[in-house]
Amino acid sequence: MSWQKIWLVLSREYRYNFRRPSFLFTAFGVPLFSIAAMFLVIHVVTDRETNLDNYQRIGYVDRAGVISADAPNQDGYQPVTDPAVEAPGASASEAEQTAYYDALEAAARQQLVNDQIDAFFVITDLYTLTGQIDLYGIKGPPAALRDNIEDFLRDQIVAQAPDTLPVSTARLHKPVDMTIRDLDSDDKLSTAALIGRMLLPFVFVFLYFMSANTTAQFLMSGVVEEKENRLMEILATSLRPIELLWGKMLGLGALALTQAALWAAGALVIAVLYEGAREFLTGASFQVGDIVLIIGLFVINFLLFSAIMLGIGASSTAEAESRQFAGFMTFIAVLPLALSSLFFMNPDGSLPLFFTFFPLTAATALIMRMGLTSLPNWQIALSLGIQLVSVLAVMWLAAKVFRLGMLMYGKPLTPRTLWQALRAGQKTLTTAQDEAPVRKPRKKRSLFRL
């Protein structure tokens, strides 16, 4: 093999496919889109949920009588009053009390509409039993306001707690201060890190799948283009088919890695910019061995898919036709992601286990399960073994199909023709005019005739 020619094909495939709009969109668009989405979440959604600038005047109607004058008050929290509504005396009947609070509620509504207050809440009669609070605002009140009201009422309860409680009032205020720790390192894990620990393998698999699948499809369309444009014959006299094959696979493998690197860079930018994202990423519990395994799986799976796509490209006559086959393969490969809920519910269930040992889904299933369960070594070894054997078999077959089908213009290489050619030991099939093997048409048999 000439490594110089492999390098030439590799660099050509890399440069040509790097400039494809679809690659540029996937490689740069996905990180940019993620950063934009993050920006949107942090600066628009989060701001909306945490910003209380528009909620400075909060009224309340205390039907349950739990608000104590002794309790610390929240700034801007005031009982709703109305000069037209007179407070009932201490001896007022229940009906008079109810009428009074109804009138206050009606006044609060009017004040809200008149922009005299920003929101108001009603502590219902049954609050002490049910905790029921009704909150009113012109727009949906932000989460921070809800939290503030909760704190406000907690303060009221704490203020009224008897001194004989076995815990301090501080515990009443905040009964639990929980720290979640990593089993191995004993490090503190934030909520974001915990979510990251579970979701990161899925995110990784998704990005990996996008990367491998995009580039493998480039490989396929490149082969189809060279066949459609009749360039293959010129290439066949310039280098060995195996050199062409390796050049293409390595070139597009490098492109897949570039894509992954660009995404990783995007993730780093997001992590630098946002604390939450940084915590999410620190949730990764991968050890060095896991990372080596993931890289190994990436390489094996890329070789498997690119060999399949190469075979499809070499045996097809047009891009549209090859895309149909490729779509079917992609559908199978994407099944673990599509059925990820099964992995969440029971990562050791029969279907996740089947996906772990099925060559087309093994890599993705293995990585997905890594984040959810403790994988036995025998399962990793068996899955890897199956993938290695599969990739070698598929690459051998792809090389044969590539060589056999590269000069088949306008005529697909059917499994039957392939089988016959392999049995006959043929290396290259052609569709040169009148040179194709002439076969007698098979007689049609009728089921109703003996």
């Binding site: 009749r230 014959e233 010129i234 290439l235 006299t237 310039s238 060995r240 194709a436 076969r439």
Partner: protein, 311 residues
């Protein structure tokens, strides 16, 4: 003949596809530095023969020597090839395609680019160097494709239908390019249906039919081999009265006559009779040699005639 003088030696080569024999016991040689033409009707086995010479296909039996040895990757780099069914990367700039394909043949990047630009200028496409291939007309693409076959200065060029799709001006441009390479000692094998191009350009020819060689030799020799005992004259006189002339037929252009000669009568005898006859005025006198087109139709049209004729 000394083996070192032969660019291609094909010996008893047979190639079958299932029950179909594409090439049958074919033997021929191509001398270094000559323009050798392969012709034959569709399906005669020309493409298969070319593909076997280039090691794209393996012969079932027989042997092929190219540029002094059994073909290998180093020898392939010394060959330029333009197949009948051809194309280029469509969304790539012309100079990039040419540079890439020349690099695959062993040229350095700089050398390939420089030579590509030179040849583009030679075929009047220098302004299209940075255009995408898809932006070129069919004729322009044809010229670029021919450049791919000659860019790396090969010792042997195998070119299938070099003039298909070209107008007369561009045909002459490519012809001049091929002549130039021929003068530099490059061996050219061309497969074409354009008989007048073979008559004009080729030193020798090989005609295939049903996978077999039906004609092989130098172009003039083949034409003379098919010549009937007749002469073509243009002028005035009583041609039928000449001794040994059995029939007088009007010629193709309306001014000439074909004189059929009796067995044993030679054209020289007729010319002497004309020279001494006072009533004859001759502007042209030549052997009635058929054109290659007539020979092609005669040989290829007779499907059952599989005998091998060599001049």
């Amino acid at each position: 003949m000394n083996a070192s003088n032969q660019a291609v030696v094909v010996q008893h080569v047979t190639k079958r596809y299932g029950n179909f024999t594409a090439v049958s016991d074919l033997s021929f040689e191509v001398q270094k530095g000559e323009i050798f033409s392969m012709l034959g009707p569709n399906g005669a086995g020309k493409t298969t023969t070319i593909r076997m010479i280039l090691d794209i296909l393996k012969p079932d039996t027989g042997s092929i020597q190219v540029l002094g040895g059994t073909i290998n990757e180093q020898i392939k780099d010394r060959i330029g090839y333009l197949p009948e069914e051809r194309g280029l990367y469509r969304n790539v700039r012309v100079v990039e395609v040419l540079t890439y394909l020349a690099q695959l043949k062993g040229l350095s990047s700089g050398e390939a680019r420089q030579r590509a630009l030179e040849l583009l200028e030679r075929v009047e496409l220098e302004e299209n160097a940075d255009n995408k291939v898809s932006e070129l007309s069919k004729g322009m693409q044809q010229k670029v494709q021919i450049i791919t076959a000659v860019l790396h200065k090969p010792e042997l060029i195998i070119i299938d239908e070099p003039f298909a799709g070209l107008d007369p001006v561009n045909t002459q441009l490519i012809k001049d390019l091929l002549y130039e390479m021929h003068e530099d000692g490059t061996t050219i094998i061309m497969s074409t249906h354009m008989m007048h191009q073979i008559e004009e350009m080729a030193d020798r020819l090989l005609m295939l039919d049903h996978g077999r060689c039906v004609l092989y030799g130098d172009v003039q020799g083949v034409r003379e081999q098919f010549a009937s005992n007749a002469v073509v004259v243009e002028g005035e006189g009583d041609w039928a009265a000449l001794p040994g002339v059995t029939a007088v037929e009007p010629g193709e252009n309306g001014r000439e006559f074909v004189l059929r000669l009796a067995e044993g009568t030679t054209p020289d005898q007729v010319m002497n009779a004309v020279a001494v006859g006072a009533d004859y005025h001759v502007r042209r006198f030549e052997l009635a040699v058929p054109s290659l087109n007539e020979i092609f139709i005669q040989v290829a049209g007779n499907g059952n005639n599989h005998h091998h004729r060599q001049s």
